[in-house]
Symmetry: C2
Subunit: 454 residues, 2 copies
């Protein structure tokens, strides 16, 4: 469907959603988003024009079903997939994409760093109804012995190539600057952003400014032509609780604020990436600070993890932080899988990560009192109370897992309508007893009504 | 060790920790707790006397290594085990106990509702270094056709039998009263507490007050003689987000406040149970209200779940709520396993539940800035930055799982000291690159120092 929309706009020098919104022009993508989000079209147009909402929608990704990221929309979830030099192949990545999308991931980032990166990305883009994000520097370094061999031209060329292929948003590590490097002294885990550390390595070697920063205007020009949404990478995000909220993190954030305004000057859509590892009591402050410093550009956070002591369970440590961030106003939550810090996620890890983050985003939407968002909770709870197991599974974030767990102890068809589960057994089902209490309350009301009229 | 301490106090009519604390007498249990918590003994004595801390320590449980629950102590985690009429046996329950304790559960509740309940409890108590809690009404109904056949005497007899066996704390559903029942009208899921629904059934049938409420003084008398800590059950806790914070819940809470004060009048230790299902934005309010209404008696919360739509993942939905509750001042978090709402947890579910809740409790302690609590995070992060994989596993909440996940892709011994993992591979390890940035910063500092002295 989207190819037609794009064709009709052929020939425009700037094709970004922000560009059209600022002219008061509501695109088909905006209308699609308004319908999905159940918000008025004018709100979408205004928010995109204002930069408070992005619709990552590269004109070379016609397979896309447009979606929006911003405070006026529901909280979104991103799933990272992609291989590393050590492991994985194309089929695996496609399986991860499909699992993520089926379970409700709103965007997917292909973070492949090895093998046939272009080919994997092409396969993913052509199959993906959700926006695809990338980190271009991962591809850029593949062609050279060391990141230090790269020039500004090399970096812009990779960005342009991915833009032509249809990548909807790109993490660019343009906020980390030479002057920030001394600020990491005293950290326990230094720089933990992969892209950020590569740019640091470049700067240390050349003793010159970050080439993504110096080439920023050229990158904006590419984004204008294809409508690539920038995702300003937070290279200096804390990698442990100890390093959270330090001078390095906030110095880079100030640069990200500057780069946000420069993007908006060129009608380029932009979101800002955030930490990382943050104790619970500092998460709302982090969101508020980003919103202030970056003039309310959508905040796209990675977790944050609220403790460092649970490798193997970091989808949980970070879902806690992500829920708090979403409640405080983050617009998209980048998932973390159980394998974080330990290895490359496989399909099952993708499943665990996506569901944990759908929980976090939904809990945040409930806490923000978004209209209608609790309807699914209420409907599932009604099915639960009525022992309508099938409906309960259907309404679950992961129906397959819910049913499998139920069936582990009571697999027979009969139990799908049984008024209990194996947790309490038939004698102890409180919900069953509850229904007799409701009957009692009805009887009592009738008696009282009878006594009043007698 | 504890048998000697108990023997020395033989013959006292009231043997509760609160009784001794109020006389200014510091027991061996209090000293043990002060050491474990790294807080002054006077604080423990004061807090126990004040009722703001409990040390569940039945004199018939000499195997116990005493611990404390209260706002002055670290946030605690309870794991529920126990069979149902449908499934499980003794060996299984012992395996669950051992898993829970190994992973750091601070207390364990045996919620068995079928089979040889006494035998299972005896096996658990004699093996447990942590306090064991129970819900006596589950055993009481086993001997009768219906809960409505039970008398006050029956209930007191079961409480006494379990007290003699050594149960450290008991959930008594004494707060739900006849006058509360009409308040559940309009709820989606009615009464979801198993014990609470049984008492409701009794009241509806007899049209008389809750026998646990009318027998409360007799129960207190049993608690005084054995030092059973009361855990006042919240029979009317919400079973879904829709029902949270309603009149039924808060009417019962007022009764729990009254019962707290009556327990304290008899020197009986008491904690108060709390919800359940609560949206994130209402959790702190719930904790504050309980603290106000119950004069700061320790709050022991079940989750709460922050959304209803994720059966199969309710250890996560509830760990989010539990972390928030702990941060707001709840003293103990009752775990929820992935099987919640679906079936009886097995050993692996116990593992998932305990770790999720250790995360929540630890994150809460960090957010509350408890002294020293972040040391483990910092130490693990240092090990992570140094690529000391073994140390990283050791410091993890679940070392076995962390190592297994790492080894899935890089099993060879060599990789235990490799300066990367399979997530990023050798070329992209930001931590490795970080170390070169630190080197650069050192060089730069030296150059500047050189220039300054030149």
């Amino acid at each position: 469907m989207r190819q037609e929309w794009i064709d009709r706009r052929g020939g425009d020098a700037c094709v970004t959603q922000m560009h059209y919104a600022r002219q008061g022009c509501a695109t088909e993508e905006m209308a699609y988003v308004a319908e999905r989000e159940q918000i008025p079209l004018e709100v979408v147009v205004d928010e995109v024009a204002r930069g408070r909402m992005v619709i990552p929608a590269n004109i070379n990704h016609p397979e896309l079903e447009p979606m929006a990221i911003g405070i006026a929309a529901q909280c979104k979830v991103n799933a990272n997939i992609g291989n590393s030099a050590v492991t994985s192949d194309v089929d695996n990545e496609i399986a991860k994409l499909e699992t993520a999308v089926t379970l409700g991931a709103d965007t997917v980032m292909d973070l492949s760093t090895g093998g046939n990166i272009n080919g994997i990305r092409e396969s993913i883009l052509r199959r993906s109804p959700v926006p695809i994000g990338t980190v271009p520097v991962y591809q850029a370094v593949q062609g050279v012995d060391s990141v230090t061999d790269l020039t500004e031209d090399d970096l812009v060329r990779v960005v342009e190539g991915q833009a032509e292929q249809g990548v909807d948003y790109m993490t660019i590590h343009c906020g980390i600057r030479l002057e920030h490097l001394p600020l990491i002294d005293g950290r326990i885990t230094g720089i933990v952003s992969r892209g950020g550390s590569l740019m640091a390595q470049w700067m240390v070697h050349h003793r010159r400014e970050n080439p993504f920063y110096t080439a920023y205007d050229r990158i904006l020009e590419v984004c204008r032509r294809h409508d690539v949404t920038l995702s300003l990478g937070d290279s200096l995000r804390p990698g442990c609780i100890h390093d959270a909220c330090d001078d390095a993190q906030f110095a880079e954030l100030d640069t990200l604020g500057e780069l946000t305004r420069r993007a908006w000057d060129q009608d380029v859509q932009v979101m800002v990436e955030g930490p990382g590892h943050v104790p619970m009591d500092k998460i709302a402050m982090n969101v508020e600070r980003q919103q202030r410093v970056c003039d309310e550009a959508p905040f796209y956070v990675l977790g944050p993890l609220v403790t460092d002591i649970a490798p193997g369970y970091d989808h949980i440590t970070s879902a806690i932080g992500a829920a708090l961030a979403g409640w405080a106003g983050a617009s998209m939550l980048c998932y973390v899988t159980p394998k974080e810090h330990l290895g490359l996620p496989d399909v099952n890890d993708v499943r665990q990560g996506v569901v944990a983050y759908k929980i976090a985003a939904h809990a945040a939407d409930i806490a923000r009192h978004r209209p209608g968002v609790r309807d699914r909770d209420d409907e599932l709870s009604r099915a639960r109370f009525k022992f309508d197991w099938r409906r309960q599974f259907e309404l679950s974030l992961d129906p397959e897992t819910a049913q499998r767990m139920h069936d582990e102890t009571l697999p027979e068809e009969y139990f799908k309508s049984a008024e209990f589960c194996s947790m309490c057994g038939p004698k102890f089902c409180s919900m069953q007893i509850s229904q007799t209490v409701e009957e009692y309350n009805r009887t009592r009301r009738e008696e009282e009504a009878g006594a009043a009229t007698a």
